[in-house]
């Protein structure tokens, strides 16, 4: 009798890993996106709305923009949703994506210690602020991870005419981490850093840091959504992915985006163009 029991449990134990690992077979798409949209809580808000509408589950793999692009290039995702225009254009041009659509825009802000040692408080020209930080020099934490935020930060240094790389290890610290980890580091080091407003609003460890430089053309942060090219990767769920994209840029989707609030403030401004893949007017 004991033998029968043992055999039964062994058989059950063998089957269990299979069912644990098996996918659910539900309709779903995989979206490669960035940590900023995940950290701000945007996806947690908007995806249930989409699902209620269409019954399609959206699985978001939230990594840095650079990694998201690579994921999509390998065909491991169906849709790409990131925030670095030049990379997105290149992605489409190389044939990995079908078309880039504007979805929403928010802005970056430079945050820093409450006492603002570099004196950039209130400046709207981000390049000038960057120059002041380098001149002080005040500690600055960079994501250093090839993300959209990181690429934007590098643009600022270029515009300011500063070679921040050369100072890496001194006042310029590269963490190679996501936005949250970088903010934690900046808070602990009492340093400046560049962050998207969405993540900042949702960040719970502000520890005396505050927004010091905002507004301004250079700090705009546009998001684009692209369908991964099924011609390149035949198993991409093109039909479902297209439904998702169409919903995002539709009036309903745009309204949903506009209704997402963090701490009472609207986090992202919807800006889907009716046609074409142009960057929004500043």
């Amino acid at each position: 009798m004991t033998r029968v029991i043992i055999r039964f449990w062994l058989a059950a134990a063998c089957i269990w890993p299979v069912q644990a690992g098996a996918g659910d077979g539900k309709t779903f798409i995989t979206v490669a996106s960035t940590t900023s949209t995940q950290n701000s809580g945007f996806f947690a808000y908007i995806l249930p709305l989409f699902r209620k509408n269409t019954g399609i589950e959206v699985r978001v793999v939230a990594v840095g923009t650079g990694q998201a692009l690579r994921l999509a290039r390998r065909g491991d995702a169906d849709v790409l949703f990131v925030h670095h225009g030049p990379s997105e254009e290149k992605f489409v041009a190389a044939g990995f994506g079908v078309k880039r659509h504007d979805v929403m825009v928010n802005d970056f802000v430079i945050v820093g210690p409450g006492d603002d040692p570099a004196g950039i408080g209130g400046m709207t020209d981000a390049a000038k602020a960057a120059r002041r930080i380098a001149a002080a020099p005040a500690p600055f934490v960079s994501r250093g991870d090839d993300s959209g935020t990181h690429k934007k930060e590098q643009e600022l240094w270029r515009a300011a005419g500063i070679d921040a790389q050369a100072a890496s290890g001194t006042w310029y610290r590269e963490t190679g981490s996501g936005m949250g980890a970088t903010l934690n580091t900046a808070a602990a080091m009492r340093a400046y850093t560049l962050t998207d407003r969405g993540t900042w609003l949702g960040f719970k460890n502000k520890a005396g840091m505050r927004v010091l430089s905002e507004g301004g053309r250079r700090l705009l942060n546009p998001y684009g959504v692209i369908l991964v090219n099924p011609a390149r990767h035949p198993y991409v769920k093109a039909k479902l992915g297209k439904i998702f994209i169409d919903w995002l840029i539709s009036a309903e989707g745009q309204a949903a985006i506009a209704s997402f609030r963090i701490g009472g403030r609207r986090a992202y401004r919807p800006n889907a163009a009716t046609a074409g893949a142009t960057r929004p007017a500043p």
Binding site: W16, P17, A62, A181, G202, K204
Partner: protein
């Protein structure tokens, strides 16, 4: 340190509320790690025993290799599994990436060297002690294998628990191959990492407390079982 107080408060409130998200994450973590340990034992234990008992050319290299694999960084394993399961990779057709199956695969790779290496040591020592008598009964290493594994069961159980510990504490590999997708591949460790990234340190620490409590429960249960069986069967 206010964080610790806040952490325990958070942890407690989550557990008391029977927070559904938390329950889902805990259940998935257990499922994945237990399944991984089970498969790793299935692979690693006979492998370790075979290496202990049979002398084949290159045996020493295999022993050193398996021992070295114990120290493989989880994030490297994650990368290897990701590249293998990626659509562009050799096993892409199975579509396992970003599913719990990928998590189990990565954890199996991390855990089986521990179980294999420890099994090898246990079986080797036991065979050194038993071989004369067992061979006198006409049992060669092959026939003695199961008897040796059974005899070493208490030490081997510790090896399995060590494997479970490594599997459930791991975050690097499961993050890469699972994508930390909400409701699909979010386990305790990746959830903690996410909350840290979002800056909610108290919640992260609270989840950490729960994870440690789970580990305590599993190990406590194993110890009780071992103790009862040991006193009964010696």
């Amino acid at each position: 340190m206010p964080e610790f107080g806040a952490a325990f408060a958070e942890a407690l409130s989550l557990v008391i509320r029977l927070d559904r998200d938390l329950a889902e994450i805990v259940w998935l973590s257990l499922e994945v790690s237990l399944a991984a340990v089970f498969l790793a034992t299935l692979i690693g234990m006979p492998l370790g025993a075979a290496v202990a008992l049979f002398h084949f050319p290159g045996r020493k290299a295999v022993i050193v290799g398996v021992n070295a694999l114990m120290g493989l960084p989880p994030v490297v394993v994650g990368l290897i599994v990701y590249l293998s399961l990626s659509r562009a990779g050799p096993f892409g057709v199975f579509g396992m990436l970003f599913t719990p199956a990928a998590l189990i695969a990565a954890q199996v790779l991390l855990v089986f060297p521990i179980i294999a290496a420890l099994t090898r040591q246990v079986v080797e020592d036991l065979w050194a002690e038993y071989s004369d008598q067992l061979r006198s009964f006409g049992a060669g290493p092959g026939r003695a294998l199961t008897a040796l594994l059974w005899d070493g069961r208490f030490t081997l159980l510790t090896a399995v628990l060590a494997g479970f510990g490594r599997a459930s504490a791991e975050v690097g590999a499961v993050m890469i191959v699972g994508g930390n997708i909400d409701h699909v591949t979010r386990v305790m460790t990746t959830a903690i990492a996410l909350e840290v990234r979002k800056g909610d340190l108290a919640l992260a620490l609270g989840l950490g407390v729960i994870l440690m409590a789970l580990s305590l429960i599993v190990n406590g249960a194993a110890f009780l079982i071992k103790d009862t069986v040991e006193t009964r069967y010696g």
